[in-house]
Subunit: 251 residues, 2 copies
DNA sequence: CCGCGATGAAGATCACCAAACTCACCACCT
DNA sequence: AGGTGGTGAGTTTGGTGATCTTCATCGCGG
């Protein structure tokens, strides 16, 4: 109607083509939920209000809510409204959810759980990878490792390489469950590693162990791979603890 | 033959009396995809055609497609069409997806992967459960175990109890990732156990090991719990192999 | 061979209708 | 007279269909 605000003709001209209005709206609502703007257990505004709040039509809002519902973030009951689900009903194994939560993960509890899971899963994945990884995958791991080695002093690059390393490792396990888990954990890892890299300055030991793991995979040494993964995770535990201390002190 | 298959009506919540047309449509499309009616990599019919195929309006179709897209089953490109994603892009860690796939899991590869993952995860979860399980959770496990013990000859009841047992076990680990995984694996397990219970007649050993696990948890015996879980999974491996042989012969 | 427009399909909005849940009000019973 | 219970209006989500916009694609013509 009158107030528009819905960039109709001008906004689509040159700057950003946005065929994805809905995607942004979904993310926006999700992030508002993650940021506790809409606290757990309480109702969301009415759909019509959400339309105005986010400046889109009700159809878009509804599609977004359906997606959010399918990921367990909210539960829409027929004529009573949409309420935010409790955090442990969220599908935290979904990459998108984790991405939305990422910046707002305040409790180290979740990061701890993920680390615990990694501690369980990655050694096994490394072992499977030792017998199943393709040459290409080993090469990718090696490439990621070299990037880690060469990017001392560049936390950005280091984190990227680290992420790549773990993603490829899980993929190389050739287990569909682990593979999927990797894409989910990727998101959480991004923030955990970021925190770690802030807190920990000395990454040489991590580089060393990662390199040994690649070597073990190359040798198809299952037990060696498992041990390397274990040592890698020992370091991760240490780093998370350090990060927790730093972050905890900061706030 | 062609339609329905919808009969398995949500074992989850009790008063599930939501009219929910869209939910059914989403499931219908998803199951058609899982049944390879729309093969991987090929385009879905146009949205307007889907409207007629499933007898609903375009809005409902679109909401369904958005949900499906958010779970990685399909990928909608702006003005090109919606295509079915490759199977390994599907979010198989999503309970709904697994439920849709369930009846159509034809490759024992996925079941094998899940079993592999369980072999990795459940012993660790058992160990964590040994130190963290609440009295209530142990009681629930005990209850599930007794139901297993007492339902010899009733595969239905036995499977239910078995499912309950593993779900509670994962929950009792008090690790959010495992917990979430449990609700996902639950769906797959349902079909795997069903197959196993058909193929294997003697469940006494399974009952025995499950009982020992409960006992270990009660004693807070971490290594004992881990060992029991390992033995449990040895049986599961055996059972899946047996099931594979039987099913493989059947078709 | 290149560009230009026609075509077509998805993205997005709007205006409805339908169903059912809420709540307040009012009548009826104790 | 006061509490209980039914009823009806209003509200809110579920669902439909028409309409407009925006581009990707393809074929035609310069």
């Amino acid at each position: 109607m009158e107030s528009e605000g819905q960039g109709r003709a001008e906004s689509s001209s040159s700057s950003e083509r946005r065929p994805r209005v809905r995607r942004n709206v979904t993310a926006a609502i999700a992030q508002d939920i993650c940021a506790d703007r809409y606290p757990s257990g309480s109702p969301l505004p009415r759909e019509n209000d959400l339309c105005e709040l986010y400046g889109v039509s009700r159809t878009v809002i509804r599609e977004s809510l359906k997606v959010l519902e399918s990921k367990g973030l909210v539960r829409g009951k027929p004529r009573v409204g949409t309420t935010v689900c409790d955090r442990d009903e969220w599908n935290i194994l979904d990459a998108e959810v984790l991405n939305w939560m990422g910046p707002y993960i305040k409790d180290f509890d979740l990061l701890g759980c993920i680390l615990e899971a990694r501690r369980t899963i990655e050694p096994a994945a490394a072992e499977y990878a030792a017998e199943r990884a393709s040459a290409q995958e080993i090469a990718d791991l090696d490439k990621a490792w070299r990037q880690m080695r060469d990017s001392a002093g560049e936390p950005e690059s280091f984190t990227d390489a680290d992420l790549m390393f773990h993603t490829v490792l899980l993929t190389a396990s050739h287990n569909q469950v682990f593979r999927r888990l990797s894409s989910a954990i990727h998101a959480a890892l991004k923030y955990a590693l970021h925190a770690s890299n802030i807190a920990v300055e000395n990454r040489e030991d991590a580089v060393l162990v990662h390199g040994q793991l690649v070597e073990a995979l190359r040798m198809r040494d299952k037990t060696g791979a498992r041990e390397c993964a274990n040592r890698m995770l020992d370091l991760a535990v240490r780093d998370l603890a350090a990060a927790e201390k730093v972050i905890g002190r900061t706030r």
